[in-house]
Symmetry: C2
């Protein structure tokens, strides 16, 4: 406000896929709005992408073209390098480092890069006096990085939870609503273009795990540590479990949880059960939801589109306007040197568990299962046995709070009873 | 980051009620956290309140005491004046102006002051090179001002909606769950300390209207214009309407809506019906919820505690850390001089309406009502007639989209039919 910088903020955009073109469209459509809000014009100077000849849904004729993103990052006529290429090695990393080294601030949507190299990049940026912003990397259009890093900066954060991969949530809610098996809905999602080129990134929970690791670093002031995230994908979830869980009043979600307890830092991204009536339980389709829990603010829940051209470009532009307004802060909200080495929790906090097993039609079968659970120190909160199909009957058990260790001991003990067919399924029930 | 200001940021806190003490506690409890996040210490230098002798749940011995908030605002040893007194005239306004005039930035939770004098204060602040932040003024702990002003700055905002008075939502949900009439629950809320000293601020929709006017100014780049908010409180809502609406699949909420249409700027804060299954419909008790709709991001929904010591103090501290980090921007997100004079809409956008009337037990009664509606140009989507109690029977009508004018014409025509007892109740059904 005193002596503001009113020169244009000049963007160089690397990557002209859906999100990159979305950013171009916003800059072109909302030049006046961006200028009045930023206090200075926001312009695009140069762009880069792999294929110049590809037909794109935007007029790029006014921008210089670079085929090499590193060359784009080093141009003298850009102030901010907007990295929308993706990938955690190679071109994206090289170009971002080149941008920082040549005095550019960076806006990125690249969760993989930050999850793998966030600490190093944050240290580089600070040493060079540059800023990295990455709202678009987590939960698409939802301004969750801003809410956590800035809005809730007066709180000790207790817990962060989120459904942050829209494709997985789409698959799970579609399985339920259409009564279709995982494999069928997976192929549908692929045909609709909902899946990454490597679908394991989505359905293996990796993409969502990247996002969780980034949120945890900000929340707890720890170095981003994706390798310490307990990851489990949705590929083993059966339509049976979705239906049985629903009978017991739960939905199955790929839910990420990060919290610090006496045990250390827990980060897990895995399918778990949440009450059907909870905000997470009611989340349908590709929508994302994040819960932030602070010691003063209590629980804040944010919901919105987690992907797509408009929402992701909106997040990128929020960062761009922040930079145009002169906002400067360390990458993860505090100096990189002050981020602690996290102590990964050796075990998850206790929780209730959902168990599904197939009981053989033998006298005393249920008693034998109950005894195994009792010996593992697990007490039963609710149990439901269904009618027999052929020679086995599904049995659902909701336990009282117990540990994953105890659950694994019990599951290990079932075969010796001679009354449990196949493998038991166990899923954590998350309190939300 | 380059040549950062590492001197302590010194706060002067005016008003030591619930929120003021909440702020003191956070500054004391989280000195290290605030320092590492802000890049500099955050300290309290001086405080002021009406009664120095009052027993407060915090150690204030380390702070200078001023009995006059204007004197506090003018002290040389504060950088930020934290205004938590409330009220839109008198001491709060005088002190805030004194703070700006003596070179202080301001953080406030005062929605009434901003709703009434926001434009003038924004102009003063900018002329003096000072910053006013007010996250705590709207929706308590939810960082909605930040989300709208910063996170969604790349969007043309289409609509803002919100349940932003927790007391009203508490009363409405308690009426429903306990089956109690308005007057009883109102007295309960008063006994629980949920109501302002002047309860009309809450139940008359004024407090929520203040918040809506502030959001509208940011969303649409218009001068804050509280006088143009259509205000209607919850005092006339009967338990009957709550039950009947529920039968039809709706909940009644004191919901604020601001949008710009071809008709101009609409701002309304009034009871209306929302689908029971919608996020707003499911909102229980004192929780707040705000929906922000942008042209790129789509709908973002934020939920959290709208009042109380912790949540409101959390919002205040978010603003304080922003200032400590060096964030500076105009009050409403763009220069005050660029805020347009809003053209208030002469009529609300068309909507479906809920109508409840008492039909007399006479032949052809329903036909007469239907004829009045038809003559007003209103078509019926759903109608439900209940059994007679004595000589009248409740009739519920959900109309297709129509105008408030048409609804008022129909209501004006009912008496002449001779078959409608008492006054018909009409409420807008909001699409969410």
């Amino acid at each position: 406000m005193s002596a503001p910088d009113v020169s244009p903020l000049r963007l160089g955009i690397a990557g002209l896929g859906t999100v990159g073109i979305g950013v171009v469209k916003i800059v072109q459509r909302h030049a006046d709005l961006l200028s009045v809000r930023s206090g200075r014009p926001v312009v695009i100077t140069a762009v880069s992408a792999r294929d110049r000849t590809k037909n794109r849904d935007a007029d790029l004729s006014g921008y210089a073209w670079e085929s090499d993103p590193v060359a784009l990052a080093q141009r003298d006529d850009i102030d901010v390098f907007v990295e929308l290429m993706g990938g955690h090695e190679g071109a994206a990393k090289d170009a971002m480092e080149a941008a920082l080294n040549s005095g550019k601030d960076v806006v990125t949507a690249n969760k993989a890069l930050l999850a793998h190299h966030g600490q190093q990049l944050a240290e580089s940026a600070e040493a060079l006096g540059r800023v990295i912003r990455f709202e678009a990397a987590v939960a698409g259009g939802i301004p969750v990085i801003k809410a956590l890093t800035e809005g809730l900066s007066g709180n000790a954060i207790r817990r962060v939870m989120g459904v942050m991969n829209g494709t997985c949530n789409y698959i799970l809610t579609r399985m339920e609503s259409a009564g279709l098996p995982y494999e069928t809905v997976f192929e549908e999602a692929r045909a609709l273009g909902y899946l990454e080129a490597d679908p394991t990134l989505d359905v293996g929970g990796i993409d969502a795990g990247h996002k969780l690791a980034i949120l945890a670093a900000i929340a707890f002031g720890t170095k981003v540590s994706f390798d310490a995230v307990q990851l489990e994908g949705i590929g083993k979830i059966s339509i049976d479990d979705i239906r049985r869980a629903d009978d017991m009043g739960y939905k199955i979600k790929l839910l990420g949880v990060a919290q610090i307890t006496g045990r250390g830092l827990e980060q897990r991204m895995m399918p778990c059960l949440v009450p059907s009536s909870s905000p997470f339980g009611q989340l349908q389709g590709g929508t994302n939801m994040v819960l932030l829990e602070g010691d003063s603010v209590g629980q804040i829940v944010l919901r919105g589109a987690g992907a797509g051209e408009g929402p992701t470009a909106s997040a990128v532009m929020g960062d761009v306007v922040d930079l145009a307004r002169g906002l400067r802060m360390p990458t993860f909200g505090q100096p990189a040197a002050t981020l602690a080495d996290p102590v990964p929790a050796v075990a998850s906090a206790p929780a209730a568990y959902y168990l599904r097993l197939e009981l053989m039609d033998k006298p005393g079968a249920l008693a034998k299962v109950a005894m195994v659970l009792g010996e593992a120190g697990i007490s039963i909160s609710r149990m439901r046995q269904y009618g027999h199909a052929d020679t086995t009957a599904p049995v659902l058990i909701v336990t009282h709070k117990t540990t994953r260790d105890a659950i694994d001991r019990a599951i290990g003990g079932f075969p010796a009873t001679g009354v449990v067919a196949g493998d038991a399924v166990a899923m954590r029930i998350e309190e939300v």
